[in-house]
Symmetry: C2
Subunit: 323 residues, 2 copies
């Protein structure tokens, strides 16, 4: 039997976004040996996109994989289905319908290829290289323009029967509450706790409090970042915007904890820059809504991965995942 | 290598309740070969209880396990911890503190012993012998005096990092809503959808509608059963009690589905006798709150196990569970 030196293996991690696609070669320790990016939306045909990706990657592979084995390809992409290796009806991509993306990649690269959505990839990245190393049960929450989630139970991502589990941003935290701008659902977590949701809350609250510093901004400049600036200047309304956001998050976290009893909830994304303005009320309202057996057990932890590299790292972790 | 004839194996299933303990010998097909019961609360010391259980079981084991192998013991018990094999601070049992129950059983019976709470055992029973045969992803909801849950993901019970996952009855469905009589939490599913919750709803609603048939009962006789009788007689208020209960259930189900994307939600327990009075609004409100990708996919299914035997069957299924 040949002995495989795992330390010499490399994974190709690819993150497909609506505008840009990032890719990199990653080793077992989560070190990115090389990385680059390209436009996602410059090819109408998915095959042409894959051809360009292949050409862009050849020089990196030649340089870094002469004495290292390229073990496989992991891809994070919107609406990616883990079981089927497809991208299905992704609203932000030019390629419509159900695309057998993993199969096309395997054909072009002659390598095994696995894919999942970006929040699941982020969870795998944290488990493999980041703040969740050694954890068997945790939930990853990404707080950006939207709210994404990846659930890990007994060391495995929860995919559900169809590969679409973990849509925690769309769980309802306030029945009959704020209507979601895109899904139309009422009172979902994303409607409150995403950057978009925070902007909506801020615009409502500044209208109620004319004295707030938030009123010094033009309508288009009210967003999570400017709310944060005002909160730092001790503006009571800006602080209340984050407190309200944190409350909604904490109430949702309590329900998540009573579902899968994780050791930790990991937080990632632009919104967490608001730090304790959001985190403190989130923790308080989570604890308040938990059964006693769950209290004071669950850690709320920030991601340890560099935000710029997290997507590549997470995608690459799919290659090391044990199925 | 000896060939083991699995069809000749038998599992001992034990269901420990606050008042009675049921036990039986079960084969791989879910046939109960023999069963009996005894009082749970007649012994102050847990060791004495186990001694009586052992004596009660000896005749059954001698009779049915001469040419069959007794493969192990599975136990469903309140506050049972799957990982540790303990019963911890169970409020309805006489034995206080943390009891190493599985270890005591193994010592007495000289057999491996696994235990979990009754809702998880019910889920295993359905997966092994009932309506969830062949399902890898489903959620079991027991609707009785309380609301219990067992979550199965990729063919395994979700236990969480500490063994306490799946407390879905205590998830909050209406923040700031009805205060729970025992936990003190506000707006939990159990506060609305348990038999106790239905009674509370019925008492509130009959006070609002003096014409309702529900007002023909003494206060102490208003309960899920009498509400059902009135609903059958087409009493609008009784029907509204169940519709409201179904709505709360359906809203909760939508959140559960977006968490673990199960093929089905299985329902068990006395409350489901209300049938479509609850199920129809539950289904409607579940679908309404789901993202489109989850709609029209999740089956709401009634348990296929005989209610009187389900607890023994569920406990016995722990023995066949692959770890």
């Amino acid at each position: 039997m040949a002995i495989i030196d795992l330390s010499q293996q490399v994974a190709l991690g690819i993150d497909i976004g609506g505008t840009n696609t990032k890719f990199g070669l990653v080793n077992h320790r989560g070190e990115i040996l090389a990385k680059d990016s390209m436009k996602t939306d410059s090819h109408e045909e998915v095959e042409d996109f894959i051809d360009e990706l292949y050409e862009n990657l050849q020089p990196l592979i030649s340089q870094y994989c002469t004495d290292r084995e390229l073990a496989g390809i992991g891809i994070g992409a919107p609406n990616a289905n883990y079981y089927k290796g497809t991208i299905e009806q992704a609203p932000n991509l030019r390629w419509t319908g159900v695309i057998p993306f993993a199969e096309l990649m395997t054909k072009r690269f002659n390598l095994p290829c696995k894919m999942t959505n970006d929040a699941n990839a982020a969870a795998l990245g944290e488990m493999m290289y980041g703040a969740a190393r050694g954890m068997q049960d945790f939930i990853m929450i990404t707080l950006g323009t939207g709210v994404g989630a990846g659930i890990v139970s007994s060391g495995k991502i929860v995919y559900g029967h169809d590969g679409f589990a973990g849509e925690l941003g769309h769980t309802i935290v306030k029945p009959g509450g704020r209507k979601h701008w895109s899904t139309g659902s009422e009172g979902s977590l994303e409607a409150y706790a995403s950057a978009t949701g925070i902007t909506i809350t801020a615009k409502k609250m500044r209208a109620e409090f004319p004295d707030s510093l938030l009123n010094s901004f033009a309508e288009k400049d009210v967003n999570a970042k400017t709310v944060y600036e005002c909160a730092l200047k001790n503006d009571a309304t800006a602080i209340e915007v984050f407190r309200y956001t944190g409350q909604k998050l904490g109430e949702a976290f309590a329900n998540f904890v009573m579902f899968s009893s994780p050791q930790a909830i990991l937080l990632f994304g632009g919104v967490i820059r608001a730090g304790d303005f959001i985190l403190e009320p989130a923790r308080r309202h989570m604890e308040k809504n938990l059964l006693p057996i769950f209290r004071d057990k669950v850690k709320l932890v920030f991601s340890e991965l560099n935000e710029a590299d997290a997507a590549i790292l997470g995608a690459s972790a799919l290659v090391w995942e044990q199925s």
